[in-house]
């Protein structure tokens, strides 16, 4: 028995902020005070508040410390753990109210959330199967094998209305039903953990924080469709997640929860890990399967669909990590429970990785149908530095932007499509008035040009041409006709590409054209970038009133474009200026501006 448990986040965010060193320092302090037998340190998965990491929670009090450093550990041990006085200066400020400390569950950040897929993240030690089992782990698998036929399992998942959380939102139960109906000597269950959408990290957090939830769900899927082998395809860039998965698989095998004759019910199922090698297109289902086969991860034409001919030409189902994280709880709590959450046609919760120009860069899980405003203003804490919200980009390179006039729309699969965006994996990047929407569209196109596999012409050449048109516009050479041409090309690429990458690649352009056409017009007609981002449309100017003639900028300028005598107002030769911005950084008086 321990009198106190200390949870410290060991996810990628907090590890990057140094939680490893904090744990070491805490261990040393506990040892120094001979408290190792009384106080237990648990390294958990992600709490979601990565921006204020490393994070540490002391139970039973539930004191939530943020941004802790190794040197703070002495004080926390001496004051809090020995004398029982929480160290106020280190507590997360949202939890401190005058003299009292409130629970994290009552802060704005957690109150509006509903944690289903992230249920165990930050709560249990992901490297301990016992802790997972203590939280009803593997009960759903036992229930399926014990009480339900494979058909009944499929019916429950179908009935719950669960839709794929990885992108397109295809009904999960339907996928399972198709694969179950096809007879074969071998079938496969795959998990897509190739989280390629830059800015989305919920799959990684689930795998780091609750890996067994995914293993259990894959075994349930295997039982439902009649497969006995699973593969998890995970990015090599996620070393912590890979390690935790390896540990989890090993533990599950030791406990007989993977392998032969699970629960003595004659059901065999095992899981292997395959590392991705960095290719966005491998998030597409047929490309992912080709990649597991050791080839260039190029997509295949469908039909035949993977439910008939997938991995190694055998019936295969592929679901995303977050989708799997819902399965065990649907089985445990029933389809009706799941249907009671969310919107008509979009049941359950969705995890969003909220990032960009936002006060709380966090991982949040809310019922589907929660308005964007709630997520951004209440949970995310609004936009920093008093700037104005411009747009939220959702769905990554396949998604679109939602402007401020639609902030009150309930986010679900259907409303997002109507607005020209898509749920995608749930990356939600907030942009303020300093972000240029044409530049953002160009940024995403550069990404898709880079990541297009090259197999089909509309995507390979179309995205390149689209990128060139955007480049023409941001360099001040665009015309109004270009905008129409661009739109035409977008639809051509969408309608003719082989796989989801090409079919959605023009979305960032189409949605910015739709919601921010005025910015495009400013670029092509006025030759101005209203947000001051596109370098070719800017010039650097010294404001005479503010310039003290200190010569700092002139000395810093790498091309000698700034001239002026000491204590005299300086000036910039725009013909020579390369717009590197070094002068702005150097000037102490804020006398240089981009116009």
């Amino acid at each position: 028995m321990y009198r106190s448990h200390i949870l410290i986040c060991g996810g990628t965010g907090c590890t990057s902020s140094g939680s490893g060193a904090v744990i070491e320092a805490l261990e040393a302090e506990l040892k120094k005070n001979a408290l190792e037998e009384e106080i237990k340190i648990i390294k958990t998965g992600c709490f979601g508040l990565c921006a204020i990491g490393p994070i540490m929670i002391v139970y039973p009090e539930g004191c939530f410390y943020s941004e802790v450093k190794p040197e703070d550990m002495e004080e926390i041990v001496n004051e809090h753990l020995i004398k029982g006085r929480p160290v106020k200066r280190l507590l997360y400020k949202e939890t401190v109210e005058g003299d009292s400390i409130k629970s994290l569950n009552h802060t704005d950040f957690y109150r509006k959330q509903m944690r289903v897929a992230l249920r165990n993240c930050g709560v249990i030690n992901p490297e301990s199967i016992d802790e997972y089992i203590a939280y009803d782990g593997y009960a759903a698998l036992a229930k399926c094998l014990d009480e339900y036929t494979p058909q009944q399992v499929i019916d429950i998942v179908l009935d719950s209305g669960l839709r794929g959380r990885g992108g397109a939102g295809f009904p999960t139960g339907l996928k399972w039903k198709f694969a179950a109906a096809n007879q074969a000597d071998q079938k496969y269950v795959c998990c897509n953990a190739d989280e390629g959408d830059p800015g989305a990290f919920m799959d990684r957090s689930i795998l780091e924080g609750d890996p067994h939830a995914v293993l259990e769900a894959m075994a349930i899927a295997g039982y439902a469709i009649g497969a006995n082998q699973g593969y998890i395809y995970i990015r090599a860039e996620y070393p912590i997640a890979v390690e935790r998965l390896e540990i989890a698989i090993k533990q599950a095998r030791e406990y007989g929860l993977l392998g032969k004759n699970i629960f003595g019910k004659g059901f065999d199922f095992d899981i292997g890990i395959r590392l991705g090698a960095g290719a966005f297109v491998c998030g597409e289902e047929t490309a992912l399967m080709t990649s597991i086969e050791g080839k260039r991860g190029e997509p295949r034409p469908r039909p035949p669909f993977p439910a008939l001919k997938g991995l190694f030409q055998k019936p295969t189902i592929l679901n995303n990590v977050e989708t799997y994280a819902n399965i065990a709880q649907i089985i445990n709590n029933g389809a009706e429970w799941f249907k009671s959450i969310g919107n008509e046609g979009s049941h359950g919760t969705k995890v969003f990785a909220l990032g960009g120009k936002i006060n709380n860069t966090v991982l949040v899980e809310v019922p589907i149908g929660t308005p964007l405003r709630t997520v951004i203003e209440e949970i995310g804490g609004g936009i920093p530095n008093g700037k104005k919200f411009k747009a939220a980009q959702i769905g990554g390179p396949s998604g679109g932007c939602i402007p401020s006039e639609h902030l009150d729309v309930a986010i679900d699969y259907n409303t997002l499509i109507e607005l020209g965006a898509m749920m995608g994996s749930g990356g939600l990047i907030v942009m303020d008035e300093d972000n240029c929407m044409v530049d953002i569209a160009k940024f995403f196109l550069e990404f898709t040009v880079d990541e297009s596999c090259g197999k089909c012409t509309p995507c390979r050449i179309g995205t390149k041409r689209l990128y060139e048109m955007l480049e023409k516009i941001t360099s001040g050479n665009g015309t109004l006709e270009d905008l129409d041409e661009m739109e035409k090309l977008c639809y051509y690429i969408k309608n003719n590409s082989l796989c989801g990458l090409g079919q959605t690649a023009p979305n960032p352009v189409l949605s910015t054209l739709r919601h921010f056409r005025d910015e495009y017009v400013a670029h092509v007609v006025d030759k101005k970038c209203p947000s001051g981002v596109c370098k070719d449309l800017l010039s650097y100017v010294i404001i005479a009133d503010k310039c003290k003639g200190c010569t700092a900028c002139a000395r810093k300028c790498p091309v000698g474009a700034i001239s002026g005598a000491v204590k005299q107002v300086h000036s910039i030769d725009t013909a020579k200026c390369i717009k590197c911005g070094a002068c702005i950084e150097t000037c102490k008086f804020g006398a240089i501006v981009k116009m």
Partner: protein, 163 residues
């Protein structure tokens, strides 16, 4: 992928070759093992020059063109040598909107190399990557295993000076 044919001479050692042969032997008869073998080969040599690709092709009895196709398809594989300190600038969306593009431009200027390149002394190499998943710390760069977050262009000199 922005892979260019490497130009520096190949300096593989007999020990490395021995390790590679052992890996090839292990995976020779496993179907679809090419990606895994290349991954291990890159761990041995640090990159995948043509010489190594030829060894893999011959060892696994796969056409060299297919090996080259796989190597150039995945961004994890590099046919250029990397520096002792590999600098990756995250150009994921969250980092980009917070100014990672400026960090990348500035590092190219400071190091005098373009993205994907390596300084002539072999000390630093620079590349862009897509999301290390530390979006809470945006914008982020990594140098080997070290992660630096919440950066501005002003912080870069101090960071480079540490190496």
């Amino acid at each position: 992928m922005k892979n260019k044919l490497e130009t520096l001479p190949f300096k593989g050692t007999p020990e490395q070759k021995e390790q590679l042969c052992a890996i090839i032997e292990e995976y020779k008869d496993v179907p679809g093992a090419l990606v895994q073998v290349l991954k291990k080969a890159q761990e041995i040599y640090g990159y995948l020059p043509l010489e190594v690709q030829i060894d893999v092709a011959e060892g696994l009895n796969v056409p060299l063109e297919e090996v080259y196709g796989v190597v150039t398809f995945y961004s994890l594989f590099s046919i250029n040598p990397k520096g002792d300190y590999r600098i990756s600038v995250c150009l994921g969306t969250a980092c980009y909107v917070k100014g990672a593009g400026d960090l990348y431009d500035s590092l190219q200027q400071k190091l005098g190399i373009s993205g994907g390149g390596c300084t002539p002394d072999g000390k630093f190499s620079l590349e862009a990557c897509r999301c290390v998943g530390a979006c809470g710390l945006a914008p982020v760069i990594t140098i080997n295993e070290d992660v630096y977050g919440r950066l501005t262009v002003k912080d870069l000199d101090d960071i480079l000076a540490k190496y």
